[in-house]
């Protein structure tokens, strides 16, 4: 065997191993969701069993899934929309009219993501209480906009940087004002990139658990809080928890699967240039 072929086989093996390692918990959770409570905690674990839907029925009867799902959709999509609307002019300014401090500003924006969220839980909780934003959909939307803005602005900034600046100069001579340059040229030209950014932002919002659990009680709970409600003080019910989790992640997994090409393109952008 030629060394090149050998290496290819080796890399394929490593790739599959990592992929299986990452996918295994989800696979195991899916299995558990269709087991009985006893089957789910059996040792040695059962790989072959008679599947049941009773967990899903139980979960549906204990909580109103569509309400949680609707909250998740409204919160993720709205927060993503506003994060992009706010990031567009910022990215435009930083990409095409940079100042001496633009680099520092970009780094500072990203550095806010390095701070553990729990460090600001108390002030935000108190501020939300004063502003009557606790347990409201708008409260979660606001925190998600702030949470995703750095990464959204960074990504859009890098997509804008890819647009030749002569095109904007030509448009300035043609009479395009800055907002027209953004809406008529940059947004259509960077649309694939903006779409990947939106997808990533929706996924991040959908999966966010810390703020959604701490800032909501009954009204504004998204699907992450729905899952959490099944880890009850009376003890863990693995099968039901798995069923609830499966219901919570199903929409976003389907979305991610359908748009994986777009996502990979967006996430590896800049790395392969």
């Amino acid at each position: 065997m030629r060394p090149k072929t050998k290496r290819k086989i080796g890399m394929t093996f490593v790739g599959w191993f990592v992929a299986l390692l990452v996918a295994f918990p989800i696979f195991w959770m899916t299995l558990a969701a269709f087991k009985t409570e006893i089957g789910a905690v059996a040792t040695p674990p059962e790989l072959f069993f008679w599947p049941t839907l009773e967990n899903f029925a139980e979960v549906r009867s204990r909580a109103d899934y569509p309400v949680f799902a609707m909250n998740s959709i409204v919160i993720s999509v709205t927060a993503t929309f506003f994060a992009i609307v706010i990031a567009l002019p910022a990215a435009y300014a930083m990409a095409f009219h940079p100042s001496r401090h633009t680099k520092d500003l970009l780094l500072w924006m990203l550095s806010t993501k390095m701070m553990p969220a729990i460090g600001v839980l108390l002030p935000i909780y108190l501020a939300y209480r004063e502003l009557h934003l606790l347990d409201t959909v708008s409260g979660l939307i606001i925190i998600y906009i702030l949470m995703n803005l750095p990464i959204v602005a960074w990504m859009i900034y890098s997509f804008f940087r890819d647009v030749p600046k002569e095109i904007l100069e030509a448009s300035r001579i043609d009479g395009a004002k800055p907002w027209q340059q953004v809406t008529m040229l940059l947004v259509p030209l960077a649309l694939p990139g903006i779409a990947s950014t939106a997808l990533l932002s929706i996924i991040l919002c959908w999966n966010e658990a810390f703020w959604s659990i701490n800032l909501t009680a009954t009204q504004a709970r998204p699907l992450t809080a729905f899952i959490a409600s099944f880890s009850s003080p009376e003890g863990l019910f693995w099968a039901k928890l798995s069923a609830a989790s499966l219901l919570a992640i199903a929409p976003i997994v389907v979305l991610g699967f359908m748009t994986q090409r777009q996502l990979v393109r967006g996430l590896t952008f800049g790395a392969v240039k």
């Binding site: 002569e166 030509a170 300035r172 001579i173």
Partner: protein
């Protein structure tokens, strides 16, 4: 149509000054070419006129109105970029009509104006295509069409032909010259290619290191370069430069000793020259010919045959190679020793600081 005035304009990026005080007037309907080596500031100067670059000091006037603080679109100009800078997601028609759309011109009127411009450039069959579906030459046409649609007072071109292949470049050069005549427009054109400058310009502005070296018609620059830089930059192949020493000065000119010992009296003003001064003799290859009575001699190193004419590279001294123009069917071969004739009237003398000595009245190459 309009005139453009540039008054003591300077431009500095951080602490680096790239335009060091330029004065210039572009007259109405004139085709002016800025030419110079890369980094000489010619594009920056054009961009300052366009309003894409801030002016550090000095004034730019269009039709007598100071436009330093007027945004690009309000200056009444159109610009064609080297990279074409078309809007990739719009059709050719939308590209050309973009400025009108921004100005709120009605759809019907927009269509009429785009069609009129497309007709001039034979772009009608391409109007519904996107820039990605066009060849380089077609894209350049669209970029020019986009400029025409705006009916500007002044057209600005920033190296518009640099990305085209040689044959297309020649064709577009002819078309641009024709366009200038048909539109009766004021045009400012930037290039590093002196052939483009010579063939298209009414007047050429030679720039070097942020300063204007000389302004004049193509033949003025060719025949009466003000300094060694302009002499070397204009004309192809480049002018031959030979280091010489002044032997005598008189009312008839300056006498110098050529390599090989012969003397040559060049009819130039001798007032600022003393015997013994180091000078540079400049002679164009076209003004040299192989002949028995030649004042200098050397062996032929390289023969370049271009068909209609031949260039001979003649080694006068171990360190001195000159190019000589010869007929297309010249029998000269490599290693032949040839005598080279040069006419004193057509030669130039430059001082050691590069400044040309003025030709005496009525003498020298025609100005």
């Amino acid at each position: 149509m309009a005139n453009v005035e540039v008054k003591n304009v300077r431009k500095a990026f951080a602490s680096v000054e790239v335009i060091k005080g330029v004065d210039l007037t572009v007259k109405e309907r004139e085709f002016v070419v800025f030419v110079g080596p890369s980094g000489c500031g010619k594009s920056t100067l054009l961009r300052m006129i366009a309003g894409l670059e801030e002016i550090s000091s000095g004034d730019v006037l269009i039709d007598g109105v100071r436009v330093n603080d007027v945004p690009p679109d309000a200056r009444g100009l159109a610009m064609v970029f080297q990279s074409y800078a078309l809007y990739p997601h719009m059709t050719v028609a939308d590209n050309m009509g973009f400025a009108l759309r921004l100005a709120g011109v009605h759809k019907e009127e927009r269509r009429t104006k785009v069609l009129a411009a497309a007709k001039i450039l034979q772009l009608e069959p391409l109007l519904d295509r996107k820039p990605g579906q066009l060849s380089g030459g077609q894209r350049q046409r669209v970029a020019i069409g986009r400029a025409i649609v705006r009916n500007p007072k002044v057209f600005l071109f920033d190296e518009p032909l640099s990305n085209l292949d040689a044959a297309l470049r020649v064709q577009m050069r002819v078309e641009l010259a024709k366009l200038h005549r048909d539109l009766k427009a004021t045009m400012i054109y930037v290039t590093h290619d002196q052939v483009e400058a010579m063939t298209m310009a009414d007047r050429i502005v030679v720039l070097s290191a942020g300063l204007v070296e000389q302004v004049g018609s193509p033949l003025e620059l060719y025949n009466r370069p003000r300094n060694k830089f302009v002499a070397g930059f204009i004309g192809s192949p480049t002018m031959n430069f030979v280091e010489v020493k002044a032997m005598a000065t008189s009312a008839q000119g300056v006498t110098v000793q050529l390599p090989g010992g012969a003397a040559l009296t060049v009819p130039v003003a001798s007032a600022n020259v003393s015997v013994g001064d180091a000078l540079t003799l400049g002679v164009r290859p076209d003004h040299l010919k192989v002949g028995a009575s030649g004042a200098v001699a050397g062996s032929v190193m390289v023969v370049e045959r271009l068909g209609g004419l031949t260039y001979l590279y003649v080694q006068l001294t171990p360190s001195q190679l000159i190019i000589v123009h010869a007929a297309g069917n010249s029998p000269v071969k490599v290693s032949d020793v040839v005598n080279v004739e040069l006419e004193a009237r057509l030669a130039h003398l430059f001082r050691s600081d590069g400044v040309a000595l003025a030709h005496l009245e009525g003498d020298g190459p025609p100005a």
